[in-house]
Symmetry: C2
Subunit: 114 residues, 2 copies
DNA sequence: CACATACTTGCATGCCCGTGCAAACATACG
DNA sequence: CGTATGTTTGCACGGGCATGCAAGTATGTG
C-alpha cells in the first residue's frame, strides 16, 4: 500500500502554505496590530500603533518588524518616524490563492461532506 | 489626534483573524501533515500520516489533535484506527473570507500602491 | 551643541511548546 | 484470556520567543 506516494512530492499547495507567515500571524499581539492597521486604512507610526495594545512600544517595534519580514506590512521611514502599512493586495491575494488551492484538492464525488 | 479611534473597537476582521488557527498552521510539521492529507484527498490514519514527516508518531498524534481542535481537520474513529480528514470547505471558506475582508479595508483612492 | 523625539537593540527572565521515550489505553484477533 | 495493532498520555528535556527595561542610534529643534 502506497497511499501517500503522490503526497510526498511538492505541489502548489506547499508553495502557498508558508509556515513563517502563519507563525507571524499566530501571535495575538501581532494580529491585533495588523487588525488595527488594516482598519485604520492609512500608514501609522510605531508610537501610534503602540496605543493599540498593552505592551511596551519596543515590543511593538519588534512585532511590526516581524510582520514586515513575512511580507504583511511595508515600512517607510520619514525623518525619525517609521510608517507601517498593510500590504492589502498581497495579503488578500495570498489568502485567496490558499483558499482556491485547498478547494481544488477537495474530492468532488463519492465523498462524505467535508 | 485620535488616529486609531475607529480601530479600537472590534470589526468583522477581528472575528476572522483567529490567532489559534494561525498558530496551529504556523508549525512546519503540522503544515506538512495538512499538506499531505490535502493532497491525499481521502481520510488517513495517524500511522499513515506519520510516514509523511520525520517525527515520532506520538508527536503526529498530538499535531493532528491540534489541527482538529482549531477546525482544520475532522477525526473519525473506526475500530482502533482514527481517520483524519481535511475540512476542505471550511478551510477554503475561512481563507476566502479573510481575503475578502482584508480587500474590503484597502483604500481604493488616493493611495499609493499597496 | 544640547535636548527632545522616534525608534531600535542588548540583555535577562520566564513561559510556552515541540519532541522522544515509555507506559497506558483501546480494540481486534485467535 | 493473551497477544498484536493503533493511538493517546505522562514525563522530562531543550529551544524558541514574547516581554520589559535600559541603553544606544537616528533625526529633528532651538
Amino acid at each position: 500500500m502506497k497511499p501517500l506516494e503522490a503526497s510526498q512530492c511538492c505541489g502548489p499547495i506547499d508553495e502557498l502554505l508558508d509556515a513563517d507567515l502563519f507563525k507571524a500571524l499566530g501571535e495575538p499581539t501581532r494580529l491585533k496590530l495588523l487588525s488595527c492597521l488594516a482598519k485604520c486604512g492609512r500608514p501609522c507610526s510605531v508610537t501610534e500603533l503602540a496605543e493599540c495594545c498593552a505592551v511596551d512600544f519596543s515590543v511593538v517595534s519588534r512585532h511590526l518588524n516581524v510582520l514586515e519580514k513575512v511580507g504583511v506590512l511595508t515600512a517607510t521611514k520619514e525623518g525619525r518616524t517609521v510608517f507601517y502599512a498593510v500590504k492589502y493586495r498581497h495579503l488578500s491575494n495570498a489568502f485567496h490563492a490558499i483558499a482556491s488551492e485547498i478547494e481544488s484538492y477537495r474530492p468532488k464525488r463519492r465523498s462524505a461532506k467535508t
